[in-house]
Amino acid sequence: MKKLVVLLSLTVALASCGGGKKNQGSGEGLSGEVKIDGSSTVYPLSEAVAEEFRNAEGGIRVTVGESGTGGGFKKFSRAEIDINDASRPIKQEEIDLCKQGGVDYIELPVAYDGLAVVVSKENTFVDYLTVEELKKIWEPEAQGKIKTWNQVRSSFPNQPINLYGAGTASGTYDYFTEAIVGKAKSSRGDYNASEDDNVLVKGISSDKNALGYFGLAYYTNNADKLKLVPINDGDDANGKGGILPTPETVTNGTYQPLSRPLFIYVNTKSADRADVKAFINFYLDNAASLSKEVGTIALPAEVYPLAKKKFEAKKSGSVFAGGKKAVGVSMADLLKAEQ
């Protein structure tokens, strides 16, 4: 028994003395703790920024969780965290929650996320798809009816169409259904669903009749196994015909409607703190360059200074309050309109 106690206390001691890796940065020597939680889509970017920030301000502890956008807003409204990562604008009920909790917030766009529609490498006939065609395939009414490619477009061959898509718990699912079918969470149910995009990649790459969608970063990292489908949104202002999602077309807003802005929401009270201020400024300065590494897509360069200005002016509230859509809007215009 005594031995056991000694062993246990030894383990505790060992565990606690490992802090020798302190990274003394060259910053202003600030200290504090910045707590971030929220969307798993924004997570890689926040993680990358936090990692780089350690080199600049080693005294500030930044932690990042991934409870999902909704889970994060719940904590945010209780002032349990300083910053919430969000892959969509704040919803009305979350605005109400924040009001109840006495939490005011600053909404800052940090990057774009694109969804890729892909087919197998062996698929030779899909040259592009229109939003109409995608809707025809994915809307709830298509369940059990749209089963072959020639039902989508008569020039396609009479081959079965096998669908792969995001699972219902995923933010990607909400977003895709809203952009394509027109209503969030409204989709046919008879497709291969997974919350893990890597599973979808595997499925589509080994099935020549497959069609599926997932985050653009998953295509970029598996480009040798998949074929990207250009999307035609029918709006010639965005360019004629199908548009391929690339960092350029997502950033300049011509790849529509499958690109969405990603946000961070900062508690205004936290924003008064020097450590949070330093972190947010660092975030907005480095989001563009770090986006490339983690698979999100940078906003147009003019947006970041505007966002910094907004943060400095502590302009609180959401520009999307009242149900305004974030799909297909220019971040720069929105931020300019606010100032």
Binding site: M1, L8, T11, V12, L14, A15, S16, G18, G19, K21, K35, D37, S40, Y43, P44, S46, E47, A48, A50, E51, R54, R61, V62, T63, V64, G65, E66, S67, K75, E80, E195, D196, D197, N198, G215, A217, Y218, T220, N221, N222, L290, E293, V294, G295
Partner: protein, 285 residues
């Protein structure tokens, strides 16, 4: 075919069936080991164990996840062990057979079957919010303690039950009180069994992810927790995060982390076996 041949055939069929049943578990384990080892083994090196989490798969390590896990486990043991063993002793030695103890017993068996995520929700509300511990190591350990308590209680009772009545009677015969009998005769003889139960319970806690995610365990924690009120992450959460990342390198990292986690569990189970053997030898009934 006469009767005896038919019986022999039945015997053979049952034997084959039994072998098949045994091999199902073994084959799954071997396949799992092969897959993670072939992917992850090459990735494990000293840096992997001592690096902080990172956006680049090559630089990322499991240092803080490992430290968080050790913290959580040690605290869980410190909390769950005395309470679980105490409750086991009460139920087996002091508790009278009545409605009340029956009720408690049924509840303990039921608790052992409650899905772990439910414990997470309880832990979040009770420890995290009501008691105000937040998403700290303390909240995590208390939650996991609840989760493993039924296991410890049941195994304590079984171990105490296995102590022969003659030992107890001899102790009483010498004029020892109940407490003296329990502390000097029953517990030492049952210790091997209790420890085995404890370690098996802890190795279950090692793999738990759901309750810790619910109470708000983080993913990116670039520092070693220094006290029970610090925030933390654990290995299963890090693995969960890595398998969903787009870059192939993270999948390799996940495999490597799984190898470490499996090694940890194997080690714990090994210790359980050694302790059981040692204590069983010491007490000769």
């Amino acid at each position: 075919m006469n009767n005896s041949q038919i019986n022999k055939l039945k015997n053979l069929i049952f034997k084959l069936f039994a072998i098949f049943c045994t091999s199902v578990g073994l084959i799954v384990l071997v396949v799992l080991l092969y897959v993670v080892m072939s992917k992850g083994l090459a990735r494990i090196d000293f840096d992997f164990l001592t690096n902080l989490p990172s956006r680049s798969a090559e630089r990322a390590g499991i240092y803080t996840a490992l430290a968080g896990m050790v913290w959580i486990l040690v605290l869980t043991v410190l909390i769950a062990f005395p309470i679980g063993v105490g409750a086991g002793i009460y139920l087996q030695e002091y508790g009278k057979r009545n409605m009340f103890t029956n009720f408690i017993e049924i509840n303990i068996s039921n608790l052992a079957g409650v899905p772990s995520i439910i414990y997470g929700i309880l832990g979040l509300e009770l420890f995290g919010r009501f008691l105000g511990f937040g998403n700290s190591i303390l909240t995590g350990s208390l939650t996991l303690s609840l989760l493993v308590l039924p296991l410890i209680i049941v195994s304590t009772r079984e171990a105490i039950k296995a102590v022969p009545g003659s030992l107890r009677e001899a102790s009483y015969g010498l004029g020892a009180t109940k407490w003296q009998t329990i502390s000097r005769v029953v517990l030492p003889s049952a210790f091997g069994g209790i420890m085995t139960g404890l370690i098996l319970a802890v190795s279950r806690a090692v793999g738990e992810t759901a309750p810790l995610i619910v109470i708000g365990a983080l993913v990116y924690v670039p520092f070693i927790p220094e006290g029970p009120m610090d925030e933390f992450t654990v290995l299963p959460i890090q693995i969960f995060n890595w398998v969903t990342r787009p870059q192939a390198g993270f999948v390799t990292n996940a495999a490597a982390a799984i190898v470490i986690l499996l090694a940890f569990t194997f080690m714990m189970n090994g210790i359980a076996v050694i302790i059981r053997n040692r204590f069983n030898k010491r007490t000769k009934f």
